[in-house]
């Protein structure tokens, strides 16, 4: 049985797809057979970030409508042979998903994989509900600013009331907080909420803190999940995050302002 993890946030543009790609890739790097499912029907992005947009033939909606089988729709990653993605449809909208179809596809994937990462669309409408409904765990991606925190709080409410686990009275979804675009310098200046502030408001377990980094944009543009850029701070932070997700105890890094060395001060960093 695979563990189903939804990556969600409520608010758009906080880094759900970037995090789905990085965490999915990270789990595969650790030897777990992983599939990342793009639930953002109509705004297909995951395949771009994963760098396989030219290889999309069939998609998630085709599988749900029995127009293709999973084997035809899933794309195996070129870098890691235990990593697959199931792309979203670009031409349909989010109403193309239905609960029965999603359940059937997830059950089928569940037999074969260790982890199923569901990349949720933004918002709280049917598409996002569909992505979180069957989840065992949830990674709530939040930026350190008030509107993102508020939306995450809303999604946490949905997780505890609208999911399958909630409806069937099973133990609740395990909730993790992933703080992205964290900039310690701006936190010190009071321009951004601190880890403590966000933790205080949302009161769920902190899974990771990803620093704001140029590496993320570079990685997205080149179709390379940022976790593979092991030199970058963001890549290392995602590696730590994945380690915590599979139960390892790793200290948090990149939380405080980095002291600039002599060379950096002279040449700029």
């Amino acid at each position: 049985m695979a563990k189903i993890i939804v990556v969600t946030s409520g608010k758009g543009g906080v880094g759900k797809t970037t995090s789905s790609a990085a965490i999915g890739t990270g789990l595969a790097l650790r030897g777990h057979k992983t599939v990342i499912v793009d639930f953002d029907i109509g705004l297909r992005n995951l395949d771009l970030i994963m760098g396989c947009e030219r290889r999309v033939v069939y998609d998630f909606v085709n599988v749900i409508n029995n127009e293709a089988n999973l084997k035809q729709a899933m794309i195996r990653d070129k870098r890691l042979d235990n990593l697959y993605i199931l792309p979203a449809s670009q031409t349909r909208d989010k109403d193309a998903l239905n609960k029965e179809g999603v359940e059937r596809v997830l059950n089928e994937l569940s037999d074969e994989f260790d982890f199923i990462i569901c990349d949720s669309p933004a918002g709280i409408e049917s598409g996002a509900m569909m992505a979180l409904y069957f989840a065992d765990e949830a990674i709530v991606v939040t930026n350190p600013e008030v509107s993102s925190v508020r939306d995450s709080d809303r999604i946490l409410g949905m997780l505890s009331s609208k999911s399958r686990r909630a409806e069937q009275g099973l133990p609740g979804i395990k909730e993790h907080l992933l703080l992205t675009r964290y900039n310690p310098e701006r936190v010190v200046k009071g321009e951004m909420l601190s880890v403590e502030d966000v933790n205080d408001i949302l009161a769920i377990k902190l899974l990771g803190v990803i620093p704001e980094s140029q590496a993320v944009l570079n990685a997205s543009n080149s179709g390379q999940p940022v976790i593979l850029d092991t030199e970058s701070d963001a890549g290392q932070a995602y590696l730590d995050t994945v380690a915590r997700l599979i139960g390892e105890d790793v200290p948090f890094r990149f939380l405080s302002v980095e002291k600039k060395g002599l060379f950096k001060r002279i040449f700029g960093g």
Binding site: D153, G157, M158
Partner: protein, 239 residues
């Protein structure tokens, strides 16, 4: 998503249960009228179940039903009925409800072993209003709304910004209050709001409200007790 426009779901409701031995219409009428006179309005159109466990005769359910209509009560059904009574009740269009094991004992049955009292006088007809306070042991997130009718609301957790907690009774929050809290929603101005960390968007007691702007000051971010005195909201220390 499944279709929510038509659903049949089980739910639990507080219901008043009438314990009685003499089910003659005249006796019932006298005792009920006496009870209702004590609190007119409280039982107005209240749904009632009658416990027929200790019935001495087979009650005339149709006449009792008529009596309830006259007294502006809603007779829902019977409980504690044996097979024979169940049949009669069902023929009169009443629901035969199952007694749960823990409240299966009527006040009389519980009292019996102590002493066999002399003729059970007016006190025999006890209308027990089952009012259960609501306890929630988790955080109330943005967008969630909790309403408790006719009772207190106790929350072991935080009420997030954009969440609303409403009760006809008092509200106790063992965490931060960042959303809205409305106590005494039914108009009872004696109700209070207690919280461990007050950063509310709105606080209201019996329709008198304050927005967060008016709440800034001494008690912001601290524990507080909010009550209504002479039509004015008052903030005070919790300890």
């Amino acid at each position: 998503m499944s279709d929510h426009s038509f659903e049949l779901k089980g739910s639990l409701f507080p219901l008043s249960v009438l314990y009685c031995q003499d089910f003659s219409v005249a006796a019932l009428q006298a005792q009920l009228q006496q009870k209702l006179a004590q609190a007119p309005g409280f039982f107005h159109q209240a749904p009632v179940v009658i416990n027929v466990e200790n019935a001495k005769q087979i009650p005339d359910f149709i006449a009792i039903k008529q009596l309830f209509v006259e007294l502006q009560l809603v007779l829902v059904g019977v409980c504690g009925a044996n097979a024979e009574l169940k049949k009669v009740a069902q023929q009169a269009g009443l629901a035969a409800l199952q007694l749960s094991k823990n409240n299966g004992k009527t006040p009389e049955a519980a009292a019996k072993p102590v002493a066999e009292p002399a003729p059970i006088a007016p006190a025999a007809a006890v209308v027990t209003a089952v009012v259960e306070n609501k306890l929630i042991e988790q955080n109330i997130r943005s967008g969630q709304q909790i309403y408790v009718k006719g009772a207190d609301l106790i929350i072991k957790g935080t009420v997030g910004a954009g969440a609303e907690v409403i009760a006809d009774g008092n509200i106790h929050i063992y965490g931060s209050l960042r959303g809205k809290a409305i106590a005494g929603a039914g108009g009872d101005s004696s109700k209070k709001i207690y919280c461990y960390n007050m950063q509310a968007e709105l606080i209201s007691i019996a329709g008198n409200y304050w927005l967060s702007e008016s709440l800034q000051g001494e008690f912001w971010g601290k524990s507080a007790c909010i009550s209504l005195q002479d039509g004015q909201l008052v903030l005070a220390e919790l300890f």
